[in-house]
């Protein structure tokens, strides 16, 4: 069952098109990773989901309700952490946490204390003295101590140190274990790789790829390193081979997944001494889409 269902969402600011036909689904009980370069439309999408921006076109449903018209009903079951947490300089962190929890309508005192301890926050300090990371902790604590069904987290860890990053990941996994869903927008691809069940990549206001990591990898290349007895001939003329580089006694290259069988047959003729292969990292996937866009922009595509 999908908790969030975005169909053909477009958002225009004057003449500028920020979102152009976005389709997105977050299923019950899953962690959905939302990645894309700066200015691609991640935060705009999230703010439409929250009914803070009004969609120019398309249909945005959360829990089967309309994100704009039923915003208040929806938000009783949603916890949100913005990327840029702006707080009131003259309130303390503790006061802001209580305020946020209360506004959402649920209250969990013991969980609050536990989270404050885990995130190592001093709740008696005024918000003006907090660093970016500490302000994010305030928003994260407020989010995780409410019993929401859907957590919308917009780059929640950009200011956290590695230790706190770990605490954050634990919290997300706990939430998932409890059967809740998470929409996690992030720049930190290792984090997405570690946590997310499915991923959507957005670029220039369009979702260009969506699916499980496994599915995404299937569409792409595998990194291969081989050492052979004889030099491999005609490697650069084969279909589906990219970025050949000689290294030590061997050669490094990437293979399109659908050409793998063909390529392996070819190189085995040369007497394989050593073979290493690695699945592409999310970063590879991401970079590939990103570079792809540059090529289309400048019109030099198709070199490989």
């Amino acid at each position: 069952m999908s908790l969030v269902k975005v169909t053909n969402l477009s958002k225009k600011f004057g003449k500028f098109t920020a979102l152009d036909g976005v389709n997105l689904e977050v299923n019950s009980g899953e962690i959905f990773g939302f990645i894309g370069p700066n200015g691609a439309g991640k935060s705009t999408t999230i703010r439409v989901l929250l009914g803070i921006l009004k969609a120019s076109e398309g249909n945005v449903m959360i829990f089967g309700k309309d994100a704009w018209n039923d915003a208040v009903e929806i938000h009783k079951r949603v916890a949100y952490v913005p990327g840029d947490v702006n707080l009131w300089p003259n309130l303390t962190g503790g006061e802001v946490i209580d305020l946020f929890v209360k506004l959402r309508g649920t209250n969990n005192k013991s969980r609050r204390e536990e989270l404050i301890k885990r995130f190592d926050l001093d709740p008696t300090k005024k918000c003006r003295t907090y660093s970016k990371g500490n302000r994010q902790k305030v928003a994260l604590i407020a989010a995780f101590c409410s019993d929401a069904d859907l957590y919308i987290l917009d780059e929640p860890t950009s200011g956290l140190d590695p230790l706190m990053e770990n605490v954050f990941q634990e919290c997300v996994l706990e939430v998932k274990k409890a059967g809740k869903s998470v929409l996690l927008s992030s720049h930190i691809l290792s984090e997405v790789e570690k946590l997310c069940d499915r991923v959507g990549i957005i670029r220039e206001g369009r979702i260009i790829e969506t699916g499980t990591l496994k599915e995404l990898r299937h569409l792409t290349r595998t990194q291969v390193f081989v050492e052979t007895r004889k030099p491999i001939l005609d490697l650069n003329q084969m279909k589906g081979i990219h970025e050949i580089a000689e290294k030590d006694q061997g050669v490094n290259f990437q293979v399109d997944t659908e050409e793998m069988e063909h390529v392996m047959k070819h190189i085995s003729q040369y007497g394989i001494m050593k073979l290493e292969s690695a699945p592409p990292t999310l970063e590879d996937l991401f970079m590939r889409h990103y570079e792809g866009s540059e090529k289309t922009d400048t019109g030099v595509g198709g070199a490989n």
Binding site: R47, L50, T92, G94, E95, V96, K102, L103, T124
Partner: protein, 533 residues
């Protein structure tokens, strides 16, 4: 060592001038134009022989006017003396506000936002940025003094000689310098820009009100107030430069103190203590209304005290006014027209317009805070949770409406409580309170317009202040400049019956309230439909 602490000050001075290249000239041009148009208008209206101004001397030389614009040489009330009397104090207050805002921007505000940290990481001295902003303010003050000094002289009005004109300019320049000094000191003491502005404005208004009271009761005591020094310069009459030199001297002393305080403190710390806050929010805080009230608490209390003091200040001169009118035959003749009202009551409408207009500032500010929160990106915290837009805007509306009621009541009460104690026959509380509250529907219309702007044209929210300024100018100066009636009717305040001379009738109040409710409803509907920035 000493040189090192101010290394690269000249670079930073140029940098600040670059940052303020539009803001400072706008202030200077505005102040100059504001100053120069008045003597031109006066010369048109009241130029010529002394007799042309005889009636005017009578209206200006009463305690209420002295409380507002200070003492003057009434025996020799030339166009020059008249200009200086009517304008120099009020201009000095505006100049003071300019200095406070400009200096805070480049001291505590830059520090609070972490920009000074960046600058301090460069090879510049510890005191360089502070002194660069002081130098810029020095320059601004000198240019202001010269522009106004030579500008007034260039008008070629007979009673406005070069010496007096330059002194006029110098008085304003020195005021600018003085409040720059006050602000640099508070920028060291307080650890927030809000605090810096708050304390400095407090000194400014305190200086103004103190001299208002002492100018009427005991003029010698006015020497305690720096704004008293501006009147003591006696521009275009005895042209006394000493008070101005005193002002410059004290300013320099303040700059020295600020430099010292800056050199012994840590960056981003102040001297006024900031205590650890609460671990838990009080139940009261946990709603949009509670939060809005909490955020504005200090502001509301300061304004509330200010409104009471404002009312009380005007009230305190009523006694003097009474005996003054009692002794003055011209006045008694002028005011004889209306039967059944006491002489004081003739003066009240003018006082009430000023009081209610000033009391309208805090409630309008309270409403506009909603837009301020949006600009700071903090509205998402509400709308991302189970709070509807109507509830959010409604909370600010309730706060603003109650705020206005409290401010109006306190100002009226201040006026009555002090007024009644200094007058022979006393004042009727019902009369004062009723006449003040007659303006309340007009305030509601202003709040309604604010809501309309926030709901539909959020980028133009500040336009409400333009409209407010229009109302102020039209109603305050309307009498002096003999404006047509319809110009006054363009502001909601112009439709309010001028109690106690006129009867408070039901219709205008009802219409204004209805209009206000309509604006509010439409504005809330608009807010429900637009994007949040």
């Amino acid at each position: 060592m000493a040189i090192n602490t101010i290394a690269k000050t000249s670079h930073l001075t140029r940098f600040i001038m670059r940052l303020d290249r539009i803001r400072i000239p706008l202030w200077l041009i505005g102040l100059t134009v504001f100053t120069l148009i008045v003597p031109i208008a006066y010369d048109d209206l009241y130029g010529g022989p002394e007799s042309a101004r005889a009636g005017l001397v009578e209206t200006m030389a009463n305690p209420a006017m002295i409380a507002m614009s200070g003492p003057a040489d009434f025996d020799n009330y030339t166009i020059g003396v008249m200009t200086a009397h009517a304008m120099i104090l009020i201009t000095a207050v505006i100049v003071g506000i300019m200095s406070i805002l400009l200096v805070t921007r480049h001291t505590r505000a830059d520090e609070e936002d972490g920009r000074i940290e960046l600058i301090r990481s460069l090879p510049v001295g510890r005191l360089s940025y502070l002194n660069a902003s002081i130098i810029v303010l020095f320059g601004t003050s000198i240019v202001l003094a010269l522009l106004i000094g030579f500008g007034l002289y260039a008008l070629g009005i007979e009673s406005m000689d070069l010496n007096g004109s330059l002194l006029y300019g110098a008085a304003l320049g020195a005021t600018s310098l003085f409040f720059a000094g006050v602000t640099t000191v508070f920028a060291q003491l307080s650890d927030t820009s809000r605090g810096t502005i708050g304390f400095s404005i407090f000194v400014l208004l305190g200086a103004y009100l103190f001299r208002a009271i002492t100018d009427v009761s005991n003029e010698a005591l006015s020497w305690i107030s720096p704004l008293g020094w501006v009147s003591k310069a006696d521009v275009y009459s005895s042209n006394n430069w000493w008070p101005i030199l005193l002002m410059v001297g004290v300013s320099i002393l303040l700059f020295v103190i600020a430099n010292y305080l800056h050199s012994i403190r840590d960056l981003e710390r102040g001297f006024l203590p900031s205590k650890p806050g609460r671990r838990f929010a009080t139940p009261f805080l946990q709603s949009p209304l509670g939060l809005a009230l909490r955020l504005q608490r200090t502001g509301i209390i300061s304004w509330a005290v200010g409104m009471y003091v404002l009312g009380a200040t005007y009230g305190s001169v009523l006694g003097d006014l009474e005996s003054f009118i009692g002794d003055n035959e011209v006045f008694q003749q002028v005011l004889k027209g209306a039967e059944g009202t006491s002489l004081i009551e003739q003066f009240l409408p003018m006082l009430l317009i000023v009081i209610t207009l000033i009391s309208s500032i805090p409630p309008i500010m309270a409403m506009n805070k909603l837009r301020g929160e949006e600009k700071k990106g903090r509205i998402d915290h509400f709308l991302g949770k189970a709070v509807s837009r109507s509830k959010l805007m409604g909370s600010y509306l309730v706060l603003s409406v109650v705020n206005g009621f409290v401010m109006f009541s306190l100002a009226a009460f201040g006026l009555w409580s002090v007024g009644t104690s200094v007058m022979d026959e006393g004042l009727s509380l019902t009369m004062i309170y009723g006449s003040t509250m007659a303006y309340y529907p007009a305030l509601l219309v202003m709040i309604g317009i604010s809501i309309l702007l926030i709901g539909f044209l959020p980028k133009f929210t500040t336009f409400i202040w333009g409209y407010f300024l229009y109302s102020f100018l039209v109603l305050y100066l309307g009498g002096l400049f003999d404006l047509s009636e319809w110009i006054g009717k363009l502001t909601p305040y112009g439709h309010v019956p001028q109690a106690p001379i006129e009867d408070v009738t039901f219709m205008p109040m009802f219409t204004l309230t209805l209009l206000a409710i309509l604006f509010m409803a439409i504005g809330i509907a608009g807010y429900n439909r637009r994007d949040i920035e």
